[in-house]
Structure formats: structure tokens, C-alpha cells
């Protein structure tokens, strides 16, 4: 008897040379991947590596540009998530697809309710059937319970039950453990192991490498839209994976400028918010660019939003120019020269149907108003022209063109331009270069440098380690709601930073 050759039929899903671009920016390039029946495949990569896009393509949510997929030997080309589900591929997102005003069982059987007398829903048999399926996963919740009353872990179990009920052959988990307690996590792992022994394949996306190594048979590493490697877990070490995740050559030159930071202008002490933020401490000095790095769920956006007044935080103190801050709302911050660019520009940064000029001057109007609250049209126009030229925003008519019609990069520039006009002394930037092409990014870095040279303090939140290492004077790393560490420019190192982001303080 010879060695057992891994039969081709063992491979359930095969992805070849997938390509995908959004608005001209390549997000996935030549990605190939194979998934065996009953295997647990860990998919790792930094934010922006392309994991979610790849899974969205797999789950039928987004169409691919090029490449092919085959499922159980035949071609797989879903035209929507419903078709993907029918073919047995279920995607369990972070935002669960559950209805909080319905019971557990009603959610599970939403697409096909069991019928009883006179064609009405047979609740009793539905409850007992739901109970059976939940018990099979070791879940003790009552099928009658309202989803609104249940914790995240339980809700996840319901989604899994739902997936299994629909005869899922492949279940994709996207960062499933971010809102789970330890106990819930252990239960999830037990179930995943169980599922895999029942020949259900699992794709497990997570940046918690410890978990990935515990759970997965194979690990695939994505970096900058490319599949770097897919190997059996036993052939890899954690350090190796971290290396592969960041192992790009830092060949791109970033415009760094030597600065001499001045006095401290904004200090945060012990900021906490529910389960999301724990004792965040951070200080910003004039003329300094401080990077804030972290993986999904680290809490960076929640932090700046809480400070700025978009959300609330529970405890902690903030000092602006040495004085304790009492009011946390956007208008007060703006009056004091602090600006925040949120990461969701379409919903929080821009008035899409309004013109570019309207967007640009939105936060600035109060500063250029005339007598009787009037608008100084000339100041408006000159200010917006100035910014358009400064940032090189490409528009054919700032008064006519609606913001929604701009490309992503120009939209981002418009948001930045809006805040630049408020002449901030502190600039909080959340993913300011996301979705922008390389040339425009470079221009932005130069602008940030100019601002810093002009004594503006900048907090630069980004998921792109490269750009942070290229442009910042110091980098703070957040992990699971805490500050994991801080590095000065001289000590910047990709693997160290990623380790801090994954594992927390060392």
C-alpha cells in the first residue's frame, strides 16, 4: 500500500487568480487558494490586505473582475449572496444578520417556516426543532427567547445554527471573537472543531494569531492584495506568519521631515468606554505627527469619536493646552482649533448631494461670516479655491459639481480640505489616505508635513503600517481597547509593531 495521495476530490473549493479593483485601485491581485473538505483554514493579513473583499467575492456579495472559482468540481460564480447560500457557502459577518425583535427560532427559520394546521406557522414543532439544533451545538438558550435580550456569543451561535440548518458546506467567520467572552470563545472553538470533523469546511479570518494557530489546519497569508502563502499550520511558526504579513520591502520613499516638536497641546488620561476602551493615555505635542496603529476592533476610531463628542466615553480626562476639557462636542472642539476626520467619509464627512464648495466651507462659515450672519461669497470662493489648489482637487466647477460625483480620492481630499480651512491646531485623522491613489497620497503626506512644520499636532490613525512608519515621528499601537505600546522613530520595526497590535503589551 503506497502513501495516500491527497485526492483532488478532497478539495472542496478552488480559487484561481482572482482580481478585483475598486474605482481603479487594485484590491486583489492574482489570489489563489484551495480549501479542503472538513479543513479549517485561517486567513490572516493586515487591515486592507484584502481578506474581506476576497470573502465578499466568495460569498457572492461582490462580483470579481477576473479569475475563476470552482466548488466541488463545478464552476462557481454566484450572482448574489442568496445563490451562494444555496450552494452551501455561508458568511457569518461581524454585524450579524439577525432581527432583534423576533425570537431565536423565528430568526433561524426566517426563510422557510415549518407549516402546521391551515398553513400557519407551526410554532411548537419549530421551537422543538430549533431546540434540537441549538442543543447539538451545546447552546442552552431557549428558542423562544427574544434576540434583543441575548449576548453576542449566543447570537453568534444562532447564526451558526442557521447556517448549519441550511446545509452549509463552507462557513466563513469574519473576526468572530471580537465581542465574545472567554467562555463563549472556547465554545465557539469547540463547535468549529466539531463542524470540521463533520466535513464542514471553515474559513476563519482573524488577527488573533494564537487562536488561528490553535484552531486551523492551514493558514493563508494575504498581504497588499496578494496571496503570499498557504501552508499547513504545523509548517509555520507565529513569527514566520507575522513576518509574512508585513514582509514587504519598504522601498517606497516617504517624505519625512525633521521636526522639533513643541509643547504638549492635547493629553488624554485614562479614557475608558464600556468594553471598547480601557485607560487610554496619549499625548500630542505641537508640530508632531503621531501615528496610531491597530488592527480591526482595536478601538482607534471609537477613541477619537468619543473624544470629539460624536459618541460618549465613561471616564478619564482630557487636557487641552494644559486646561481640563469640560465640553465634548464637535462645535466646541472646532472653535478651539481641533478637527476630526472620521473614517467613513461618505456618511460622516461629506454632504454628498451638495457641491464641492458647499462641502469645503461647511465648517468654516462661522469664521468668515459678515454682518447679520451673512455669507461672504467672495471669502467663500477664495477660501475654497485656495484649498482646491492646495490639495489639487480635480473638479470642473466647484459650485456645480456634486461631491458624490467625485472619485474616492478627491472626495477624501474634499473632506480634508474642509477641515484644513478651520485652521486646526490639532488634527485628528482617521484613515485619511484610504482609497486614494499613490500620487494623491504622496501629496497628502507633504501637506501633513507642512502642517506639522507649522506647529499643528497631528494624530494619524491608519491601518497601513508602511505609511505610518514613513511619515510619523512616533507610533502608538492599540490592541483591544488599550495602548499596547509606543515607539519612537528610531525604533520603528514592522514585526514589533504588528506583534504589539496582535498581542498587546509585552
Amino acid at each position: 500500500m503506497g502513501e495516500e495521495v491527497p485526492a483532488v476530490s478532497e478539495v472542496l473549493l478552488s480559487i484561481e487568480d482572482i482580481e478585483k479593483s475598486f474605482s481603479g485601485v487594485a484590491v486583489l491581485e492574482c489570489v489563489s487558494m484551495k480549501l479542503k473538505k472538513g479543513s479549517v483554514l485561517g486567513l490572516v493579513g493586515e487591515n486592507g490586505a484584502g481578506k474581506s473583499t476576497l470573502m465578499n467575492i466568495l460569498g457572492g456579495i461582490v462580483p470579481r473582475d477576473n479569475g475563476s472559482m470552482s466548488l466541488a468540481g463545478s464552476e462557481y460564480s454566484p450572482n448574489g449572496p442568496i445563490e451562494a447560500a444555496r450552494k452551501g457557502i455561508v458568511f457569518i459577518h461581524q454585524e450579524l444578520n439577525l432581527f432583534t425583535n423576533l425570537s431565536v427560532a423565528e430568526n433561524m427559520f426566517l426563510e422557510k417556516y415549518p407549516r402546521g394546521i391551515a398553513g400557519g406557522i407551526a410554532y411548537k414543532s419549530m421551537y422543538s426543532e430549533a431546540q434540537r439544533m441549538l442543543r447539538a451545538l451545546g447552546e442552552t438558550v431557549s428558542p423562544r427567547a427574544l434576540v434583543a435580550d441575548l449576548p453576542m456569543g449566543t447570537r453568534q451561535m444562532i447564526e451558526i445554527s442557521k447556517a448549519l440548518k441550511e446545509d452549509a458546506k463552507i462557513i466563513i467567520f469574519d473576526e468572530p471573537t471580537t465581542s465574545l467572552s472567554t467562555k463563549e470563545k472556547e465554545r465557539l472553538f469547540a463547535i468549529i472543531k466539531d463542524l470540521s470533523s463533520q466535513e464542514v469546511s471553515i474559513i476563519y479570518i482573524s488577527h488573533m494569531l494564537d487562536d488561528v494557530f490553535r484552531l486551523c489546519d492551514e493558514i493563508a497569508v494575504l498581504r497588499d492584495g496578494r496571496m503570499i502563502t498557504q501552508k499547513a499550520t504545523r509548517d509555520l511558526s507565529k513569527d514566520q506568519v507575522i513576518s509574512l504579513m508585513v514582509g514587504r520591502e519598504l522601498s517606497k520613499l516617504f517624505p519625512y521631515v525633521e521636526k522639533s516638536p513643541g509643547k504638549e497641546v492635547l493629553r488624554f488620561e485614562d479614557i475608558s468606554q464600556g468594553k471598547t476602551l480601557h485607560n487610554i493615555g496619549l499625548a500630542l505635542r505641537e508640530g508632531e505627527i503621531v501615528g496610531l496603529f491597530g488592527l480591526m476592533g482595536a478601538g482607534r476610531s471609537e477613541f477619537v469619536k468619543a473624544i470629539f463628542g460624536v459618541d460618549k466615553f465613561d471616564s478619564g480626562e482630557v487636557f487641552f493646552k494644559g486646561e481640563k476639557v469640560k465640553r465634548f462636542d464637535p462645535s466646541t472642539w472646532i472653535e478651539n482649533g481641533v478637527a476630526l476626520i472620521t473614517e467613513n467619509r461618505r456618511e460622516e464627512g461629506l454632504l454628498l448631494p451638495k457641491s464641492i464648495k458647499d462641502n469645503l466651507v461647511l465648517a468654516h462659515l462661522n469664521q468668515i461670516k459678515g454682518p447679520l450672519n451673512s455669507i461672504r461669497v467672495r471669502s467663500e470662493n477664495s477660501a475654497s479655491d485656495r484649498v482646491i489648489e492646495q490639495l489639487r482637487i480635480r473638479t470642473y466647477d466647484k459650485n456645480e459639481q456634486q461631491a458624490v460625483m467625485l472619485s474616492g480620492g478627491n472626495q477624501q481630499k474634499t473632506v480634508i480640505g474642509k477641515w484644513l480651512l478651520t485652521k486646526p491646531k490639532v488634527f485628528l485623522l482617521d484613515e485619511p489616505t484610504r482609497g486614494i491613489d499613490v500620487g494623491a497620497k504622496y501629496e497628502l503626506y507633504n501637506h501633513f508635513n507642512d502642517l506639522a512644520l507649522d506647529k499643528t499636532a497631528i494624530l494619524f490613525i491608519s491601518s497601513e503600517m508602511e505609511e505610518l512608519m514613513g511619515v510619523c515621528d512616533r507610533i502608538c499601537v492599540m490592541c483591544r481597547g488599550r495602548i499596547a505600546g509606543e515607539l519612537d522613530r528610531g525604533k520603528f520595526d514592522q514585526e514589533t509593531i504588528l506583534k504589539l497590535a496582535i498581542e498587546g503589551a509585552m
Binding site: F308, L362, Q401
Partner: protein, 349 residues
């Protein structure tokens, strides 16, 4: 599957695109022009005496109150809400003011300045009801359509309870002279309309407050993050609506010469139609005071002309309702043009 035009770098938009999008926006923002001019032309042709100077002046005098009230309503609709209580403001203001100045036992019936105080009181009624609405919407977070319907029922009801449906007549001549009088040959109602429209226009289109109204109507979230005081502004909108409704009610009361608790009963459709047909969108963030003015005049012309043609008022209502729907539909078509641009693929991850 590329959304039309958006993926191209800005600046590359071709001329046909520009013309189409401009045309679409024009139709969407000023649909009134499509309707108003042909209607005026038709009236000139078919209705004898329509073009006489006196008739035109009459039309402007008649549409004064509607124009003023509609200006106030425009502010509220721009925020995506509606104010049903303007009817109550007019009703209650009318009888309260009348009861102050009526020579037949009114509080200040015998004073020569009773009418001035009465007007003041009517305006205060408008502000008060506006404030109640404002608190309901801003502090209690009630949807405006139901909050203002509540206030409408309560305050109109109070007007009826107080007067038991009896009109309060015998108002001083100085007051009734408002609707009929002129200053320097210009009828007072027209002067008031000009003042109010000019003020509202300036407020909406040329002040920072007005820009904030546009921004808030487009997106509360973006406006808040950009430092705009959303709550304060929305509250002010309801104050404006109440105040201007009261002002319009003054003219109406003067015209009928009595305080009537059901003065504005059938007016709501005219007010809403004037604003919507004038180009203000209830989806929020888009509107025009001049459009509202034209809309109000149009409604009055429509009412008059169709009445002359023998069409009953309730059929005229049907026309107005249909026009509102048509304009709303045009608005949808216009919005869809930019919405397809808005629907990009999933964000890059």
C-alpha cells in the same frame, strides 16, 4: 458594472453629461417653472381680463397670506419634516387677537392701540406653538408630522372651546384696514409679502444659518460632526414656521374682519402644495424661497382660474394633490440620477 460617470476622474465629465445633469437638476429644483408659465399663459388667453393690472394686483394681494405662511413652512420641510400646526396658529391667533381688540368687550377694545397689541399677541401665539413643536421634535424626539398634528388638534380645539365656534367680530378699522389698505399706493399685504419673502430669502440663501439649514436637511450626522448646532437650528425652524404662520394669519383675520376659530381649516393643502410645487423637497436639504413664492402665487392663480372655469373647489384640490405627487415623482427621478453614482462597490478592505 460601473456607475455612470463617477469612476472617471473629475474634470473628464463630457458636455452631454453636463447638460443632462443640469437639466435634471433644474427640473428637480424648480419644477414650478414648468407649470407656472404655461398656466399663466393659458390664463391670459382664456380668461378675459386676466391681464388687467388691477387683476394682477388683486392676485398678489390675495396670495399674500399664503406666501408668508408658506415661507415658514419651507424652513420646516427643508429639514425633512412638516408642520401641521400652522392651521392651529392661524385659528388660535385669530381668535385670541380678536378677543383682545374687539370693540365689543375686548380687553383693549377701547384703546386706539389695541390692534397693535393684538397683532403682537397673535405673533406670540405663533411663537409659543412653534416652541412647543420645537421641544417635541428636538427634546422629545417625536417625528414632526405627529407632534405637529398633536399640537394642531390641541390648539385648534382650544380655539373652538374658547369661542364655542362663534366668531368674534367688530374689530377696529385700523386693523381691518391692513388687508385693504395701501401705503404709497402699494397694498399693505403686498408690502408685507415682499418684506417676509425678502427676509426669508436672505435668511435661507445668504446667511450662515441658512447654509446650516441646507446642511442639516441633507445629513444630521455630517452637520453635527462639522460643528453645526443641529438641535438649536431645528428648534428655530419651528419657531420661524409658527411666527410666519401667525403673521399670515393676521392678514387673513384682517381680511375677514373677524376672529374665526376655523379660519384656516382648508388651508393645509394649499400651503404644502405651494412649498412642494415650488421646488422644496421633503427629502430634505433642497429648497428655494423664490420657488415657494411662485408656488403660492401659482396656487392662488390656479384656485381663481379654475373656479372661473366652473370647477369646484374639491376638484381643484384633486389637481393640487396630483401636482404634488408629480413633483415628488420628478424629485425621485432627479435623485435617482445621483443615487446610482452613490452606489459604489463594497469599500476596499
Amino acid at each position: 458594472m460601473h456607475p455612470r460617470g463617477s469612476a472617471r476622474a473629475a474634470g473628464e465629465a463630457g458636455y452631454p453629461d453636463m447638460i443632462m445633469s443640469n437639466l435634471r437638476r433644474y427640473l428637480q429644483e424648480k419644477p414650478i417653472n414648468l407649470v407656472f408659465l404655461p398656466f399663466v399663459v393659458l390664463s391670459l388667453i382664456f380668461i378675459p381680463g386676466f391681464g388687467r393690472w388691477q387683476n394682477l394686483v388683486n392676485i398678489l394681494v390675495q396670495s399674500a397670506d399664503l406666501s408668508i405662511i408658506a415661507c415658514g413652512m419651507t424652513f420646516v420641510i427643508m429639514n425633512g419634516g412638516i408642520d401641521f400646526s400652522v392651521v392651529a396658529v392661524i385659528n388660535l391667533g385669530s381668535i385670541v387677537g380678536a378677543s383682545v381688540m374687539t370693540r365689543d368687550g375686548g380687553m383693549l377694545g377701547s384703546s386706539p392701540y389695541g390692534w397693535a397689541v393684538a397683532i403682537l399677541v397673535m405673533l406670540i401665539v405663533g411663537l409659543l406653538i412653534g416652541a412647543v413643536n420645537g421641544i417635541a421634535v428636538v427634546k422629545l424626539k417625536m417625528p414632526s408630522f405627529i407632534a405637529t398634528m398633536g399640537t394642531q388638534l390641541v390648539f385648534s380645539g382650544l380655539a373652538l372651546v374658547y369661542t364655542q365656534s362663534v366668531t368674534i367680530g367688530d374689530l377696529p378699522d385700523s386693523f381691518t384696514g391692513i388687508a385693504e389698505g395701501s401705503i404709497a399706493y402699494v397694498p399693505i399685504p403686498i408690502l408685507m409679502t415682499i418684506a417676509v419673502v425678502a427676509f426669508s430669502y436672505y435668511l435661507l440663501h445668504h446667511t450662515v444659518f441658512g447654509r446650516h439649514v441646507f446642511a442639516i436637511g441633507t445629513s444630521h450626522k455630517v452637520s453635527y460632526i462639522s460643528g453645526i448646532h443641529v438641535k438649536r437650528t431645528v428648534f428655530t425652524l419651528f419657531l420661524l414656521s409658527g411666527f410666519l404662520a401667525a403673521l399670515g394669519g393676521t392678514i387673513m383675520t384682517s381680511r375677514v374682519g373677524a376672529g374665526m376659530p376655523a379660519l384656516a381649516r382648508e388651508m393645509l393643502l394649499d400651503i404644502v402644495a405651494a412649498v412642494i410645487i415650488g421646488g422644496t423637497s421633503i427629502a430634505g436639504g433642497r429648497g428655494s424661497m423664490i420657488g415657494t413664492l411662485i408656488g403660492a402665487v401659482f396656487i392662488i392663480v390656479l384656485n381663481n382660474s379654475l373656479k372661473l372655469l366652473g370647477i369646484q373647489w374639491y376638484i381643484i384640490n384633486v389637481f393640487k394633490g396630483v401636482l404634488v405627487l408629480v413633483v415628488a415623482f420628478l424629485d425621485f427621478v432627479g435623485r435617482r440620477g445621483h443615487r446610482s453614482h452613490g452606489r459604489r462597490g463594497a469599500s476596499c478592505e
